[in-house]
């Protein structure tokens, strides 16, 4: 049971129940759909870019608790950040959920630290990273959909 509590930490359960920035963004400059075909997770991420700054970000869609909470935490974490900062955060997050050393303390990781338990559940890494992959695609601005397969 301890592993399970590690995976479904309170932050994740809270963001799953009450996802932040869970809406369409009328002024979005980028809009990308993300799919996780095997489990049916499906989100649309909206980004309002102002030069190099992520002025606003939101998402809509459906999926498991891990994917929804991750999208929610992602949206509140990257809001107001520069593109390059968001990229670095994704790299850090990816290392965290795949069991690598994220190189940051728990305090520095902030809410992202709640996803550390995912590394014990390899099948769930895709869930945790779906929104981030979708965000990256949105920031690249070359495609309008992405899958984790």
């Amino acid at each position: 049971m301890s592993d399970l509590r590690e995976l479904y930490q309170q932050v994740i359960l809270d963001h799953n129940r009450n996802p932040r920035n869970f809406k369409e963004l009328p002024n979005a400059t980028r809009r990308v759909e993300g799919f996780n075909p095997l489990c049916g997770d499906h989100y649309t991420v909206f980004v309002q870019l102002d030069g190099d700054t992520i002025r606003d970000v939101s998402f809509i869609g459906n999926g498991c608790a891990i994917s929804k909470a991750s999208a929610s935490v992602m949206s509140s974490t990257v809001k107001g950040k520069k593109r390059a900062e968001a990229e670095t955060l994704f790299d850090t997050f990816h290392k965290l959920v795949t069991g690598g050393d994220a190189g940051l303390s728990e305090a520095e990781l902030g809410r992202l630290a709640a996803f550390s338990g995912v590394s014990e559940f390899p099948a769930r890494v895709k869930c945790a990273t779906l929104a981030w992959h979708t965000l990256r695609t949105a920031l690249e601005g070359e495609r309008d959909s992405v899958t984790t397969e």
């Binding site: 049971m1 592993d3 399970l4 995976l7 479904y8 359960l13 799953n16 095997l38 489990c39 049916g40 997770d41 499906h42 459906n62 999926g63 498991c64 608790a65 891990i66 929804k68 559940f121 099948a123 769930r124 869930c127």
Partner: protein, 419 residues
């Protein structure tokens, strides 16, 4: 339950000693996350009994050689085992002749073989192929490819909210352009058992041929292809307690005989020159290349094993589990069963209010329970029922009521975590 049924039930329970049967499956003794394994993913694949595992070991220890080739002792032994297995399969499904039994990689390859070899020669522009709304992707995509190539039309029989095919709608779809009707014997995602004999007769009245995806039929009930009168019937070994990578396509001899080969290679030819190749007789015409010999002999061992238990007994046991587990699951508040057909195989698809199936899968796995979560390779069906995915518990010949209870407890645990 009627008295007669109840009597059948109790006499089965006496004959069918599930705790003894579980001894035949070594994997059922292992633990998962420190808990006894509760394997409820039998519609995905089944576990293998010692009879199958030992047969593979014996094949490689005593018999291994290529078949239909050498004059040496081992080759003859391997060929005898391989062809003996064909007879076992023939008897198991009630075919007329060994010529009607083609070994494939699985159900998917069987369906593709028919689509490619029969379909290309008989389906033309404006013709129609009918499938049902509850098909597995492997009984959708081969027909889509064929329709696209031939500019034919793919038509889909709708289902009601219980997941039952609407036979009246099907009747309206049949016409003189219908060439092929393809449907599952039982739905892997919902468990619905289709009225296959009736649907087959209706297709024949319209002049169409019938292809049955039997992947979920053969493991659960007695199959008699002559009684069904289906033209083709495909199934997979790994869903009937045999290895993966081996399957069977049954086809009526006259149809198979008139069909061109599916693949070219060894075993499927009589003679080859650079000018002309003469194809081998049935069923070898459809078995190009060195076959999955070990898989074939192990499939026969699995069917023999099922024979010793009695497929009717297995069917009754699984029906008891289905009835019991359905009732127990319905006790859980917020749980909704998707697929409530009157005739069902032992498959229960469900959703739990407020919890995504994927999260259910992870939590119950921590309790040692294996269920499938996702769209079950039936995405159009998930859309029909307006769910992104479901959890699915599917029962096999070795499952018990206690395992259904374990699932119910684990689902209560899921609710605890997410509430």
């Amino acid at each position: 339950m009627s008295r007669a049924l109840h009597e059948v039930g109790s006499s089965v329970a006496e004959r069918y000693d599930v705790s003894r049967i579980r001894e035949d499956f070594p994997i059922l003794h292992r633990t998962v996350h420190g808990k006894p394994l509760v394997y409820l993913d039998n519609a995905a694949t089944t576990q293998k009994p010692n009879a199958v595992i030992d047969r593979i070991v014996r094949y490689y220890t005593e018999e291994n050689a290529n078949v239909h080739r050498g004059v040496h002792f081992l080759s003859e032994l391997a060929t005898a085992a391989y062809e003996g297995a064909r007879t076992t399969v023939k008897n198991f499904i009630g075919a007329r002749s060994e010529k009607e039994i083609v070994f494939t990689r699985g159900t998917t390859e069987g369906i593709n073989l028919v689509a490619h070899s029969w379909g290309r020669g008989h389906v033309g522009e404006g013709d129609e192929i009918i499938i049902s709304a509850i098909e597995h992707h492997s009984n959708i995509v081969p027909w889509q490819i064929l329709c696209e190539e031939k500019r034919a039309k793919l038509r889909v029989i709708p289902v009601n909210d219980a997941g039952e095919v609407l036979v009246d709608e099907y009747a309206k779809m049949l016409n003189d352009r219908t060439r092929i009707v393809a449907f599952g014997h039982a739905s892997n995602a919902l468990g619905t058992i289709n009225p296959v004999k009736k649907m087959t007769a209706m297709a024949h009245d319209a002049g169409a041929i019938v292809v049955i995806d039997g992947a979920q039929g053969v493991p659960h009930r007695p199959i008699d292809v002559q009684d069904l009168d289906s033209d083709f019937y495909a199934f997979s070994g790994h869903k009937v307690y045999a290895p993966t990578g081996i399957g069977v396509l049954y086809g009526k001899e006259a149809l198979l005989d008139a069909m061109p080969p599916y693949q070219g290679g060894g075993d499927m030819i009589l003679s080859v020159s650079f000018e002309k190749t003469t194809y081998n007789a049935l069923p070898y015409k459809f078995e190009a290349g060195t076959p999955h010999i070990e898989g074939v002999v192990a499939l026969a061992a699995a069917l023999d094993y099922i024979g010793t238990l009695g497929i009717e007994n297995i069917s009754a046991h699984e029906h008891d589990l289905l009835t019991y587990a359905t009732a127990r699951l319905q006790e859980i508040e917020g749980l909704r069963i998707i697929g409530t057909a009157r005739q069902k195989a032992s498959v229960i698809s469900f959703v739990l209010e407020g919890v995504h199936p994927h999260d259910i899968g992870t939590v119950v796995d921590q309790e040692g329970i294996a269920i499938r979560t996702g769209h079950h390779c039936a995405q159009p069906l998930m859309m029909r029922f307006n769910v992104p995915a479901t959890g699915r518990a599917s029962f096999g010949l070795y499952n018990t009521r206690e395992e259904a209870d374990a699932l119910v407890s684990a689902l209560r645990r899921v609710i605890e975590v997410f509430r």
